[in-house]
Symmetry: C2
Subunit: 137 residues, 2 copies
DNA sequence: GGAAACAATTACAGATGTAGAACTAACTAC
DNA sequence: GTAGTTAGTTCTACATCTGTAATTGTTTCC
C-alpha cells in the first residue's frame, strides 16, 4: 500500500527536520536573537523586500514586522529606504554585516545531518533526484 | 560532489516540512490550543509520562510543564496520578477525550503532502527505504 | 534518624509574539 | 480635487513562553 509508505516517509522526514536535526536553538544562540528575527534576516539577505512582503514571508502581522526590522536595523544588519516608484513603501535591504550574519545562520541551518552524508553515493543520488521532485519552490 | 547533493536534499526536506506542508496553524486552530500544548498532548497520548520526562520531551522547563498539564487537565484531556513506586513523581495519562483529540491532531500532522503520494510507486518505495535509514528513532 | 537529592509546584519577573484600532503619508481612480 | 485604498507606524492589550528562586513532600544513602 503506497499510501502507508507515503505516510511513513512523511513522518520520518518530519522527525528528522524537527527533532533529530533541529538547529534552531543553536542558530539563535549564535546570532543572539529569536528565530523569527533570524528568519527575517535570512529573507532580507536573499533579496530586498518591502515591509508588506516581509510580513507575508514571516506570516506575522504588520506591527510586529516593524518591531523586527527596527531591531535588525538597530543592530546594523539591515537598512530601510524609500521605494523609488511608490513612496509609501519601504524597501528593506541587508547590510554587509547582515549578509555576514545571515551566512553564519545559513551555514548552521543548511548543514545536512551526518546520516544523509553517510548514505551510499548511488542511494544519495537517487534521493537527491526524488526530493527535487517534491520541492515545488 | 556528494556533499552538495546532501546539502540540497537537506534544504529541500526542510522546505517541504517547514514551508510547503506546515500544518501547525491548522492543528492549533482545530484543537484550539497552542502548538506546544498539542505536542504535549500527543506525547502523553503515546504513553504515560512523568512530569520530568515530559519536560525533557518538550525541551522546556518544569514550571511551564506544570502549566501545560494544568491546562490539558482542566480541559479533561489528561490526568495526573501518583507514581506507585515513587510518590514524588506524578504520572500523566491521557483520557479517552484526550486520545480522541490527539488522533485528530495526528491525522492532520501525519497526512503526507500530495507530492509524495503522487510519486511513481517504485520511486516511493525506494524513498521509503532510504528515509528509514535516516530516521534513528 | 538526619543530610542530601529529587519531583513537582508556586510565585514571580521578563522576553517574545499576536492582534486590533487608530493614525499619517502617499497613491489611485473617478 | 476628493473619496477610497494601501504601506507603514504607533499605541495598546494580551497570550504565550522562558527562566529563577523558594517551597513542599518524598526518597536515598550514610
Amino acid at each position: 500500500m503506497s499510501e502507508q509508505a507515503a505516510s511513513r516517509v512523511w513522518q520520518r522526514m518530519r522527525a528528522l527536520v524537527l527533532e533529530q536535526h533541529d538547529r534552531r536553538r543553536e542558530v539563535c544562540a549564535e546570532l543572539g536573537m529569536s528565530f523569527i528575527k533570524v528568519k527575517a534576516l535570512r529573507r532580507i539577505a536573499r533579496g530586498p523586500l518591502t515591509m508588506r512582503e516581509l510580513t507575508e514571508q514571516l506570516s506575522t502581522d504588520k506591527p510586529y514586522t516593524t518591531l523586527v526590522v527596527d531591531y535588525l536595523e538597530r543592530r546594523g544588519l539591515v537598512e530601510r529606504s524609500v521605494h523609488p516608484d511608490d513612496r509609501r513603501c519601504k524597501i528593506v535591504t541587508v547590510t554587509a554585516a547582515g549578509q555576514a550574519a545571515s551566512k553564519v545562520a545559513e551555514g548552521i541551518i543548511n548543514e545536512p545531518p551526518s546520516v544523509i552524508l553517510e548514505l551510499p553515493p548511488a542511494e544519495l543520488a537517487a534521493l537527491d533526484r526524488t526530493v527535487a521532485k517534491l520541492a515545488v519552490d
